[in-house]
Symmetry: C2
Subunit: 322 residues, 2 copies
């Protein structure tokens, strides 16, 4: 079902929704973040929250009820905590939308609506999850409150996949250079701001720690000057994800500092890929995370190749019960 | 002014507040988190957000208006981003409450109300900021919506300082053992859940990275199994902050895993300090962060001693413009 029709259907039955909850774990939680960030910044009345699934299950917010929309997200649709959260939301009377790659999964079966996203086809397909969730947030906001840049958002969502595919094709050379330079680092820091904040987080905990067993930390670059920057020294390795949009000032301030003290700095900058030539400035903030995530995927692939450590290699995940 | 009177005064002038924003940077942002977590979990209608100050300044949420309460927080009251955020909130017509140690600071001068907290006197004084902000959140919730456990919260706030002072006195031996064991680690991970989530964050970015120049990363322990746990191996160092409350299940699951694979694990557990003997179970979740922060302070002090690296030592902060 089209996103707009899902929300129209919910609105018909429940015209007085008061809160929206996004619930997921790990990469899926991080992929919900741009939608949460968009919604929190633009909603005039509606509430929004983002929870890691088990916290939603064990310390369920009192506002989850028949006036809530709960969006749950899991790639394979079998993440136990997220399935439990979806069931809990259903039991509390919320309208539940599952976003998953697997239409027959437990998550899909424990929801009122299912949004199925791609994954294997190409880099753009890997960003469908994040983009469709942003699309759901846009529909909720527009249908319940009105959103003045709705047309620009819809237009952006029609173009971002082409931007991604065009951009990744040009990223391999710089990705190889990154991999060569960072492959033996004892620890790598990642930071960004705005809608891209949790792209830094996901690259740190999933691509580096989970898929490469490399030590890493991440933080918002607005926080950099209030603690983490004291770790900066010549050659300490950072990855800075730079947005084209309102929080670029924060990213740029961090870059200036990293350069001043000769930190080892890799920058992935939406401006270098011409995001603004496809996406209207009124909504560009919200499309940086899709583009930058795709570029980072190329970077991770080159790192995995050079380290002879496939991105699918695990010691615990999928191998044992925990 | 008493916290209850500040909120009563705001309510008299503005009975239809719709949103609450917490704004700060670094440790001050983290110290706002327990109040935000409490409010998000217990408010039925009111919205709540927590922003790092510069993001609030550069990408100001559209809901900041005359129906908002904005709580800004800075120890010295001179953090430029937080002062700018306070000014912006005032200009947009919000009711602004500054929480600071310095009653004559720029932050205090750019607010409708000022809450002054202690710091130097003892460990309890260092936790006044976090506790008073939770007190403000409790008053807002109770006066605008009603909060069934209000009396238990007020009672808890009258007792937590004694719990802290009693507990820190017993923590020195284990803190020395921690310092001896972790002083030469190349990287240290910190994790927790619930209201204590950003205590882990603050220990990682402020105590370890900023004040000890030690590499570190932090994450919610509900997220541990969705990425970070793949870094676990024999002797990889973790600090796990265990709550007495609803999310203890998440903390315990992480502990079981760490022990199973012989990770180097330091646990700071509210149960070991008898938090439940002073704080009612209906509100205990929200008092873990104060107790655990105080214990961590003792741990950091012992680490600093053994490493001959005072907690006040900086290379950039307070020394140059950036």
């Amino acid at each position: 079902m089209e996103l707009s029709k899902i929300i129209a259907s919910i609105k018909k039955e429940c015209p007085d929704i008061t809160s929206v909850f996004f619930v997921g774990c790990g990469a899926s939680k991080a992929e919900l973040y741009p939608a949460k960030y968009f919604f929190e910044g633009n909603a005039k009345k509606l509430r929004v929250s983002l929870y890691t699934a088990n916290e939603f299950v064990y310390a369920t917010p009192v506002a989850v009820n028949e006036k809530s929309i709960v969006i749950t997200c899991s790639l394979g649709g079998s993440t136990p905590e997220t399935v439990a959260a979806s069931k809990k939301a259903m039991a509390l009377g919320a309208k539940v939308i599952a976003v998953t790659h697997n239409a027959n999964s437990a998550l899909a079966k424990n929801a009122h609506f299912v949004v199925v996203h791609g994954f294997e086809a190409n880099y753009a397909a890997k960003l469908e999850k994040m983009t469709l969730v942003l699309g759901l947030a846009t529909e909720i906001l527009n249908q319940y409150e009105g959103y003045e840049h709705y047309d620009a958002m819809i237009d952006g969502m029609s173009k971002i996949y082409d931007v991604i595919e065009t951009s990744v094709a040009t990223a391999v050379t710089s990705a190889k250079a990154f991999a060569e330079s960072y492959k033996d680092e004892p620890v790598i820091y990642v930071m960004s701001s705005g809608a891209t904040h949790e792209v830094a987080y996901a690259f740190s905990i999933c691509l580096l720690m989970e898929m490469q067993w490399m030590n890493s930390g991440s933080f918002h670059d607005g926080e950099f000057f209030h603690g983490p920057f004291e770790i900066v020294d010549k050659d300490v390795p950072f990855i800075l994800l730079m947005n084209d949009g309102r929080t670029r000032e924060l990213d740029a301030r961090a870059l200036t500092f990293l350069q001043r003290f000769d930190a080892k700095t890799t920058v992935i900058d939406s401006k270098d890929f011409g995001l603004a030539s496809s996406i209207d400035s009124s909504v560009i903030d919200y499309f940086n995370p899709m583009l930058i995530s795709a570029i980072l995927r190329v970077y991770a692939e080159q790192l995995a190749l050079l380290r002879d450590h496939p991105l699918t290699k695990r010691r615990y995940m999928w191998k044992l019960e925990y």
